[in-house]
């Protein structure tokens, strides 16, 4: 039996709470919103998208499946709240959003003139407390700008999904969660760059098709079906 397994067997045999394992994640007071993918939820300290923080989604280019990742969350947009799309790089396509069961009337697309205006719009959207979530595509942002947004997100308890290019992965960021996304033949490969918990080198594979197509539409209000996944270490 490998040594690691012996240790874990020993720990399990002891009364609970006696030994604290480094792998355990800090329990957060607020529970998160389920991402809709059980494999991803398991890796996140809040068991889902954390509330009131920046969540950075880093990808080489838009269109590789980042919206698919957010679909379960967008589907749960309550009435009277907005999902703000701040300067999206392409048109969020209404027929596909409708197909995914996302309420179109609560999507608020904001076309801004420049990066400064986008930042301003982000702050307004976060500060208003009227948003279920804010999605923003900023061409550039410095660390102090990020910190300001993080503060606005914390105060309002609204998550801000920031879509960032690949080179942003090396920039320091106050975001509570940073995910690097890559397309993969059967869905999306998610690498967790930063989370509130022990660092991980795990890569989570998500099958987006389970959500993009009719599989889920039979029960859009119920708990989102878990994505099919395999884990590689």
């Amino acid at each position: 039996m490998p040594a690691a397994n012996i240790v874990s067997t020993l720990i399990e045999a002891m009364p609970p709470g006696l030994v604290w394992t480094g792998r355990r994640m800090a329990a957060s007071s607020a529970s998160g919103w389920s991402t809709g993918f059980a494999a991803l939820d398991a890796e996140l300290p809040d068991r889902g998208w954390p509330r009131g923080t920046i969540i950075e989604l880093i990808a080489a280019r838009p269109g590789i499946g980042e919206l698919g990742l957010l679909q379960p969350m967008l589907r749960q947009t309550p009435r009277k709240r907005w999902v703000s799309w701040i300067s999206p790089p392409m048109l969020p396509y209404a027929p596909a959003l409708a197909e995914a069961g996302i309420p179109l009337s609560r999507m608020m697309v904001v076309d801004t003139r420049d990066n400064a205006a986008s930042l301003w719009a982000c702050r307004q959207a976060l500060g208003s407390r009227a948003c279920h979530t804010v999605l923003a595509w900023l061409s550039r942002i410095d660390t102090s700008g990020l910190r300001r947004l993080q503060l606005a997100a914390e105060t309002s308890g609204t998550p801000l999904f920031l879509f960032r290019p690949e080179h942003a992965a090396v920039q320091a960021s106050p975001a509570a969660l940073r995910l690097q996304l890559e397309a993969n033949p059967d869905g999306l490969r998610v690498r967790i760059l930063k989370r509130r918990g022990p660092p991980t080198a795990d890569v989570v594979h998500l099958n987006l098709n389970a959500h993009t197509h009719a599989v889920d539409r039979a029960d859009p209000a119920g708990p989102a079906a878990s994505g099919h996944y395999t884990r590689c270490v």
């Binding site: 698919g68 009277k80 790089p89 048109l91 209404a94 027929p95 197909e99 009337s105 076309d111």
Partner: protein, 444 residues
């Protein structure tokens, strides 16, 4: 009053220290204090201020009466139950006056005339309608009779001439004697002040259209002083709306320049409101992104077409409309800055051409939807592809051939393709002319 007989209406503390009193003639005052700065009184401005005061008073009761040149009488007995007691009304009215920048004195009494006299000669007094309350009037000077021009000045001179200085002593005089000396008006006035005879008044009616202006002391182009003036205008507007129990979702701000035509700003809120801060925020955003052609001399604010609002009763379980308000507020802020077209929701549109199968929609409004198995991202313009050799076709073709009637005909075969980096694309081949390949969307 101008000319040699002009008199001072009031003097500030510094002037009074030099021995200048209200009522002194201008010639005497200048002789006593040559450095005196004189300001001409402007009846039009005074009337405007009195109107503003009356509009403010309308929020408490519909029975408001103007008593030119400087008094507003309001009847509050009928609405005491709503406010609890008269002191609450006085406190709220005083706060509202401060907000309007008006310096006022007040008094309350069971008859309008008594209240008018007390406000002038014993400001701040509140007389409850108990039997024998009339005694407070006895100590007032005889000059009070002139308030509201009830009694001619010559008659008052006659009374003071015989050594009668207070209302109480006047009251004690034999009535027949007073009546014989052309002082019947004195008896009438006393009877009304004491509540022995009715004292009907003409009620003030709220103007149907709101229009106020502020002339700036010095023309300016800076945003901050303009916003400061706007704040005054919006306060007046909010006062007018509250008086009419109304709300409005738009008003017009005119900035008048000396030589250029006026700059007009339409201030549009997402929902009718009485809250001046909302308009101020919108005005701030509008002014921040506008370059004014010339310095502004006069600001004018106009509003009409208001909406009566239902007064919300205090709710045991919090305010259910709060969510809606925050949502509207955000929408109007963003629209004020970026324009209405730049902030929109989405809807589907019954058309087979992918670029026409969606439209911008009014946020918050539900429309029938036409879902389709389509990519989540659509490119605004299809992007030409050099070759499709690296792509693996996963589904298709789906032929879309339509639109011959409006000149934007499409003739395409759509495929779902997998790019070398494993992302899924929506590509098509233009069958009409060149048979070229294009990317039209991403299954993001």
């Amino acid at each position: 009053m101008t000319g040699p007989r002009a008199r001072l209406l009031s003097a500030n503390a510094a002037a009074q220290a030099l021995g200048v009193r209200a009522g002194t003639s201008v010639t005497d005052a200048l002789a006593a204090a040559p450095q005196l700065e004189l300001r001409q009184c402007d009846p039009a401005l005074e009337h405007e201020a009195l109107n503003t005061l009356a509009i403010m008073a309308c929020r408490f009761t519909p029975s408001v009466s103007l008593q030119a040149p400087d008094t507003v009488l309001i009847e509050v007995l009928s609405c005491l139950k709503l406010f609890g007691n008269v002191r609450t009304i006085i406190r709220q009215a005083t706060e509202a006056c401060q907000e309007l920048g008006l310096d006022v004195v007040h008094a309350a009494a069971p008859t309008p005339l008594a209240a008018h006299w007390l406000a002038n000669y014993a400001p701040g007094l509140v007389v409850e309608p108990r039997p024998g309350w009339q005694a407070v009037l006895d100590k007032l000077p005889v000059q009070a009779l002139a308030c509201g021009a009830q009694v001619a000045e010559s008659v008052i001179d006659l009374i003071t001439g015989v050594g009668i200085d207070t209302i109480g002593r006047l009251q004690a005089l034999p009535r027949e004697g007073l009546a014989r000396r052309q002082a019947r008006s004195v008896l009438d006035t006393l009877a009304r002040a004491h509540g022995h005879t009715p004292d009907p008044r003409r009620w003030f009616t709220l103007p149907a259209r709101f229009s106020v202006h502020i002339t700036l002391p010095a023309p300016t182009q800076d945003v901050e002083p303009l916003l400061f003036a706007c704040d005054r205008l919006f306060t007046d507007l909010a006062t007018w709306l509250k008086a009419g129990h109304a709300a409005t979702d738009q008003c017009m701000l005119h900035l008048e320049h000396e030589r250029h035509p006026a700059s007009k700003f339409e201030i549009i809120a997402a929902a009718p409101t009485q809250d001046k801060r909302r308009w101020l925020t919108i005005a701030r955003e509008r002014l921040a992104v506008t370059t004014l052609a010339a310095p502004v001399e006069i600001l004018r604010l106009e509003a009409e077409g208001t909406l009566k609002i239902q007064q919300a009763s205090a709710d045991l379980f919090g305010d259910p409309t709060q969510d809606d308000e925050a949502a509207d507020h955000l929408l109007e802020r963003l629209r004020a800055r970026f324009g209405a077209q730049s902030v929109h929701a989405l809807r589907t549109w019954p058309d087979h051409r992918p670029e026409k199968a969606w439209r911008c929609a009014e946020p918050g409004t539900d429309y029938p939807t036409l879902p389709g198995k389509r990519p989540l991202w659509l490119l605004p313009q299809p992007r030409p592809l050099q070759s499709v050799e690296a792509f693996r076709i996963e589904a298709g073709p789906e032929r879309i051939e339509t639109g011959w009637w409006d000149g934007e005909e499409v003739h395409r075969d759509y495929y779902v393709a997998r790019a070398p980096d494993a992302s899924r694309l929506w590509i098509f081949r233009d069958l009409r002319t060149s048979r070229d390949w294009f990317v039209h969307g991403y299954f993001g």
